[in-house]
């Protein structure tokens, strides 16, 4: 019985015998063969049996299905064919070839990455590598250029200013000498919360001596701020905005 062997690079992720009438392939968990990657459509393609022939049909997926390098809509598959979906490959295998295959490969998959020497890509290689990968998959997250000044506006509570421009990489809210947002209440903590600017110019609020709320919900780890978000901590409420 033929099998579909799902691979990512050289690692075998899953093997599935084609004994059912149809194997649906996609990102949604209700597919028979799930490929959890954003480059894969929710219902991407199917492999089905038609009068003894193994057929592959692409459901008009955004990024396409490729058999041996050719983009396809509907084709007949034969053993040895290689189906590319996103960065994953499904190899059509006759199970007679597969005895002992899964075990041997499973072992190699575990050990291989760890034994490899570290490789550094130089600038040119890196660009080529990134472009190659960018060709597959959805173009992602345009980071909007912000010319506006990220600012905390005090909505409630006792602080030494009404507004704070977030010009530093680290902004501390509290009584501490290094705090930018100085709390002046009697029982204010030294460091109630911290706000970090990351390399991509986004801002994250994190817990310090207190765990802040964002929009009324306690944060669970560093939380990215969007304009209009309200940070509530140690008796103050701060709104994150972009000022002209």
């Amino acid at each position: 019985m033929p099998k579909l062997v799902l691979k990512f690079e050289n690692a075998v992720l899953q093997e599935m015998p084609v004994n059912a009438k149809e194997v649906s392939i996609g990102r949604s968990p209700d597919n028979a063969l799930v490929i959890d990657n954003p480059a894969v459509s929710h219902y991407h393609a199917r492999v089905f049996n038609e009068e003894g022939r193994m057929m592959l049909e692409d459901f008009g997926s955004l990024n396409g299905t490729f058999v041996n390098g050719q983009r396809v809509k509907m084709v007949t598959l034969k053993p040895g064919d290689s189906v590319a979906i996103g960065k994953h490959t499904i190899v059509i295998s006759d199970s007679r070839d597969l005895d002992g295959f899964a075990v041997g490969n499973g072992g190699a998959k575990q050990a291989a990455p760890k034994l490899n020497e570290t490789v550094i890509l130089d600038t040119k290689e890196r660009r080529a590598f990134m472009q190659q990968v960018a060709a597959v998959g959805e173009s992602s997250q345009p980071a909007p250029a912000r010319l506006k000044l990220p600012t905390l506006v005090v909505r409630k509570g006792k602080t030494n200013q009404k507004e704070y421009a977030l010009t530093d990489k680290l902004t501390v809210v509290g009584k501490s000498a290094m705090a930018t947002v100085k709390l002046t209440g009697w029982f204010a903590p030294r460091a109630a919360a911290q706000i970090n600017r990351r390399e991509d110019q986004s801002y994250y609020v994190g817990a310090a001596d207190r765990r802040p709320n964002v929009n009324g919900h306690p944060i669970d780890g560093p939380t990215k701020l969007s304009p209009g978000d309200l940070i509530q901590v140690a008796g103050v409420e701060l709104e994150f905005v972009y000022r002209d």
Partner: protein, 273 residues
């Protein structure tokens, strides 16, 4: 503003490699702790990582003694002078390794990662290049403070790979940035808050490839002592396979713990390679 730092360090060759290319060092008097993972054949990795650590420590000491503000011109805005000194020191380490590679045959090329923290009161300056990491345990929350300059980490940031895929990828060893590869290097510099109860971990990828965040958090949370935590982390990574060299540096505010000097003594014993 001075706060005593309790620290522990452990470095191990692991179970597979034939040499330890990780290096570490400290200048406790200026709150500086540095870890580097070298790469390159014929022991060049060891040379690169040692050059990285030594250069960063030397440059930070010099900058502090000069109370230098020269670095401001090439520095970044929105961070403390100490952070800019650290940035300048890491850039210098890049130059030193790069120039050393120019003098050698192509077959002997080398490079290194770096992760360095500098504690100035409650402010922690953090600089890194490559896939060596800094973590902070605050309460029961472990936070990775650095973002790897590796291919798989970049893919995950862009939403092209899930965490599971990254863990299975054969490309985990591909770095996008390292010291010594080009004349200039882009260094990530951030600032963090160091509270009395925080624990900081610097480690090479030999640790993080073997242990999950939950395992790391459990060890850091359970150990009373920074040195014990470093020992246990490295031991756990060896038991999990030890596929690469493993180095862990654990830092804690010693405000609440006694015997800081005894621990400095221990550090000195361990730092003799």
């Amino acid at each position: 503003m001075t706060c005593e730092i309790e620290f522990g360090v452990r470095s191990d060759i692991g179970c597979v490699r034939e040499s330890n290319e990780d290096s570490y060092g400290a200048a406790p008097e200026i709150g500086l702790f540095v870890l580097s993972d070298g790469m390159g054949g014929l022991e060049r990795g060891e040379v690169a990582s040692r050059l990285a650590v030594e250069t960063v420590i030397r440059e930070c000491r010099v900058a502090r003694s000069l109370r230098s503000t020269d670095h401001a011109a090439n520095g970044i805005s929105g961070v403390s002078p100490e952070s800019n000194q650290l940035l300048a020191a890491v850039r210098e380490a890049n130059q030193v390794i790069y120039l050393a590679t120019q003098e050698t045959e192509a077959a002997h090329q080398m490079g290194a990662t770096i992760v360095a923290v500098r504690l100035t009161g409650e402010r922690m300056s953090l600089a890194h290049v490559g896939d060596s990491r800094a973590y902070r345990l605050r309460g029961d929350q472990l936070e990775q403070l650095t973002r790897d300059h590796s291919f798989v980490a970049e893919q995950m940031r862009q939403g092209r790979m899930t965490e599971t895929e990254a863990g299975q990828s054969g490309l985990q060893n591909v770095l996008l940035r390292a010291l010594g590869v080009a004349r200039e290097v882009e260094v990530d510099v951030t600032e963090e808050l160091m509270l009395d109860d925080d624990t900081i971990l610097l480690c090479s990828d030999g640790l993080t490839r073997e242990l999950t965040d939950a395992q790391i958090a459990a060890v850091l949370g359970d150990c009373e002592d920074a040195q014990e935590a470093a020992n246990e982390l490295v031991q756990a990574a060896k038991q999990a396979g030890g596929g690469d060299n493993i180095t862990a540096v654990v830092l804690r505010s010693a405000a609440k713990s006694a015997g800081a000097f005894a621990r400095i003594g221990r550090w000195l014993r361990h730092s003799g390679n």
